[in-house]
Point group: C2
Chain length 151, copies 2
């Protein structure tokens, strides 16, 4: 297996963990978004959306996982870390990822209505790299099913 | 005193409270940004930047004050509230203000390097109104003095 292929397998592996988090959100009636932060091939933080439960619009999966990862590392910069998140980060979360200087951001489904790529394309740290579309169908289906049920 | 003049006096009064918070941040070595949330002519939440103290890039004054205000009101939407903050919100904070649907955002000093007006101009809720430049000199001086000392 070459390096690119190896990375692809790892990305899917970690995205599955983010999907487990998203499922946990869905199970409690939250918009199903999950995230994990990986540092040196180890998951150092996991979180899922809790905006309803905590009655707090800032409780997106990414915000919580950044805070948790910084606590684990004992430093607020995550420049050796990769974030895996099931849905494209919103403007708020992308701004936070920028401040935290994540090395790499990997997401599943795109979000044309709220995603940072359209609304804040410079939000991330200039050195951050982005990979989109990992397990995209599964991530998107989870969201679509959630919103269909609510209508 | 006509309504516009009355609003101006009130805005400066509340911005002074945000400046007290910014001073509290400065006193503990934090970037001096402070914020208050006002609902029906009453301050319902106050906060200042605590990113160093909490080792958390998400601990901006605005993020904390949104969470605190939602706790006070028992609801996550702040559509009857005005946020006063000493410095123009960054992309992250503007995104959060958008989710929280604040009625009005009032800030002191502009931030050309990180401010949302340039980097995420559509981040706020479409119904939010913005007033910039309230006690601008005092808000800016506090920031400039802080960064001059650090150099």
């Amino acid at each position: 297996m070459d390096k690119t292929e190896e990375q692809k397998v790892k990305d899917e592996q970690y995205m599955r963990k983010a999907l487990v988090e998203a499922e946990a959100a869905r199970a409690v009636g939250e918009v199903p978004v999950g995230a994990v932060v990986v540092c040196k091939d180890r998951i150092i933080a996991r979180a899922h959306n809790l905006t309803e439960t905590l009655c707090d619009v800032t409780a997106h999966a990414e915000m919580q996982v950044i805070t948790a990862a910084a606590n684990t590392l004992g430093g607020k910069y995550l420049s050796d870390c990769t974030l895996y998140v099931t849905v494209e980060p919103c403007v708020m979360c992308a701004g936070a990822l920028g401040w935290a200087q994540l090395k790499r951001i990997v997401y599943g489904a795109s979000d044309g209505k709220r995603g940072f790529q359209h609304f804040a394309p410079q939000a991330l740290h200039p050195k951050s790299t982005v990979t989109a579309g990992v397990l995209e169908d599964e991530c998107r289906t989870l969201m679509q099913q959630f919103f269909q049920k609510r209508r």
